[in-house]
């Protein structure tokens, strides 16, 4: 399954477990905030897909870039985001990552290399490819990972930018999280042929991997990242995974497109956190008690962050026309010709 555990690896493995558990705890709290009507709007849960974000982001450094999706909390957390600023953003508070202006679907965390989640399906594929162009032009060795779902493979933009990435040998990895459903429609109803073959048509090396197996994802990504740094990119990875919740938190009655049995089966047999936890105990890297203690600590940390965010301030009304333009304090007077 993976490299033989050593002390260094053990630390890596425990961090992967912690990161996955943090994402799950974040989503459990976000879902509760929605159900208790404490969160404005809707959100899209990443629960079930944790091994994808963590396996990939653990192969990246802080200056490597990612672009994320409407189902993006996992990517943000895996790339280094913290609970407090995440929950503040979800609740539209001033201390959120985007000062409350982006919300669940637009969290950007530039300091950790996250160029933003995107609410247009497939909308960030150009941005990710452009970030890789910058890395190539500046000789920085940074790699960009573009996260997107199976639904986004229907967007024409993907094929335009993969063409250019291949022509220009850009250090970008296209990571297709195939969770089996394009919103409320089965993927086999919206995707003809093979998804990886589409990348291969551009001469892009494509892989398929079990997205529930964090070590498999991480091992593959480590290899692709180091090769991309050497100019061997781009690459394409299709990760087979599953979302436990509906398309969004309000998608409760979903038996018309997928069965409860199917959901139960994935949760029981293919949960990325449970299975990795079992492997850690089997290998003697952590005891069941160690993991339970970690889970409890993370739950407390998440709860404290939720309480903090609920009590935090909304942005002042004066910020409504701030940040429209860089270098312009307030857009409204500026648009009528006042000095910036």
């Amino acid at each position: 399954m993976a490299k033989k555990p050593t002390k260094t690896n053990a630390e890596d493995y425990l961090r992967m477990y912690r990161q996955m558990a943090k994402i799950r705890a974040f989503e459990d709290n976000a879902n509760r905030l929605y159900l208790e009507a404490k969160m404005p709007g809707l959100t899209h849960m990443y629960s079930g897909e944790e091994a994808v974000a963590v396996g990939i982001c653990e192969a990246l450094g802080p200056s490597d870039k990612i672009t994320s999706t409407h189902r993006g909390h996992g990517h943000c957390m895996a790339k280094g985001a913290d609970f407090k600023q995440m929950f503040c953003e979800l609740l539209g508070k001033a201390e959120g990552y985007c000062r409350g202006k982006g919300g669940s679907m637009h969290i950007a965390d530039q300091d950790n290399g996250n160029l933003g989640a995107n609410a247009i399906v497939g909308g960030s594929m150009g941005i990710a490819t452009g970030a890789a162009l910058t890395a190539k032009l500046q000789g920085s060795k940074d790699v960009t990972v573009c996260f997107f779902g199976d639904g986004a493979t229907a967007q024409g933009l993907m094929y335009e930018v993969m063409n250019m990435a291949a022509l220009w040998k850009l250090p970008v990895i296209y990571a297709c999280e195939n969770n089996g459903y394009s919103e409320y429609t089965r993927t086999d109803e919206i995707a003809a042929g093979s998804i990886t073959a589409r990348a291969e048509a551009f001469g892009i090396e494509a892989h398929k991997v079990d997205g529930q197996d964090v070590l498999a994802v991480n091992t593959l990504t480590n290899d692709l990242v180091s090769r991309a740094r050497k100019g061997e990119g781009p690459f394409f990875v299709e990760l087979e995974t599953y979302r436990y919740h509906g398309h969004h938190v309000g998608d409760i009655n979903r038996e018309y497109y997928r069965s409860k049995e199917e959901e139960a089966d994935w949760k029981k047999n293919r949960d990325p956190i449970t299975n990795f936890g079992k492997w850690l105990t089997k290998e003697g890297i952590a005891s069941a008690e160690d993991l339970a203690a970690m889970d409890a600590e993370i739950k407390d940390e998440a709860k404290a962050a939720v309480d903090y965010a609920l009590a935090a301030d909304y942005p002042p009304e004066s910020e409504v026309d701030a940040h429209v333009f860089s270098g312009v304090a307030h857009a409204r007077p500026y648009l009528s010709g006042a000095e910036a």
Partner: protein, 328 residues
């Protein structure tokens, strides 16, 4: 010292000077490298700066616009060429949903210093998909600045300002004006956004013209002079931001205004400027503000029809006379 150069040459000089000044400036688009662009204003750039910075793209406008947005977010200053303004429809998601909103949605964290170099204007006998003036469409979207140069001098100064701006800026040059000449000073020329140019001073009526319509208004003003009517011509130069004060002050002085723009007349630039004049100078007006834009039809191919669709100096002068007579 100054020289007389074409608008194409002005664009060419901007790219040479800015790419020498700032190594993060790159140029992307269809046939911008060895071909130097079908309108030739990028000639010589690839020889000077190489294919890494002068990048020929496939014919995939949304794709390279998206790549430019990502490059801009991460430290480059891309100038993206859209061969015809009509192709803006192809890049709407990347320009309006991504570039325009990234700074705001990220609470000011992400910036997108991106320039789109494109054009507007009919009468080139290019039919409905290569003749549109759709700058109002972009101006409608918060987060994008919109620049409408009317001559080589302003094209140079405004494009330099655009490249140094930290926001998405779309520049529309009139495609019929690429070979028109103007005096342009040697060396640095930066024209700030949001500062209208009073092209010609007058007392009796204000003609606000944008881009291709500045020349139309100037010709109309010359015709009116023969009738003893003194027309003031104002060129806003940028519509986002818009220098309201210069326009409003002029209308307060003249008491009459016609707004002329080559975009379709309905729901466009003429409506916006006329409404701002009405908001701030209503009690100074002797006549309703008049609007003259492109006819609300797709631009036809046949010269006999196409010429009917855009404002002309004669049309503007006739409208001005009617206002002065009190017929409007």
């Amino acid at each position: 010292m100054s020289r007389t150069i074409t608008l194409s040459k002005a664009i060419n000089e901007v790219m040479f000077e800015e790419m020498h000044r700032d190594p993060t400036v790159i140029l992307m688009g269809e046939d911008v490298a060895e071909a130097g662009h079908p309108f030739k204003f990028f000639a010589g750039l690839v020889e000077e700066f190489g294919t890494e910075r002068v990048i020929d793209t496939p014919i995939a406008e949304p794709g390279y616009m998206g790549i430019a947005v990502g490059a801009a977010m991460t430290g480059m200053r891309p100038v993206v060429d859209l061969m015809f303004g009509d192709f803006l429809y192809l890049v709407m998601d990347q320009l309006c949903n991504q570039a325009a909103k990234a700074h705001y949605m990220s609470g000011g964290k992400l910036t997108v210093p991106l320039v789109v170099n494109t054009n507007l204007g009919a009468t080139r006998r290019s039919a409905a998909q290569h003749s549109q003036s759709i700058h109002a469409l972009v101006a409608h979207i918060p987060g994008v600045k919109v620049v409408l140069p009317s001559n080589a001098h302003d094209a140079k100064g405004l494009m330099k300002t655009a490249i140094r701006d930290d926001n998405p800026v779309v520049i529309f040059n009139d495609k019929m004006m690429y070979n028109d000449k103007a005096e342009v000073p040697d060396g640095e020329l930066l024209i700030p956004f949001g500062q209208a140019n009073v092209v010609r001073e007058g007392r009796d009526i204000t003609l606000v013209g944008t881009s291709s319509m500045v020349g139309v208004c100037e010709k109309a003003a010359e015709m009116l002079e023969g009738d003893g009517i003194s027309a003031e011509v104002i060129d806003p130069r940028t519509i986002v931001p818009l220098d309201e004060a210069t326009i409003v002050d002029s209308v307060k002085k003249t008491s009459r205004a016609i707004v002329v723009d080559e975009g379709h007349q309905s729901f466009g630039v003429t409506a916006e400027i006329a409404s701002r004049i009405a908001d701030r100078a209503f009690y100074y007006l002797d006549a309703p503000v008049q609007r003259m834009g492109a006819m609300d039809v797709p631009i036809p191919f046949s010269p006999a029809l196409e010429d009917l669709t855009v404002p002309t100096p004669e049309g503007v002068a006739d409208r001005a006379r009617a206002m002065i007579r009190g017929d409007i």
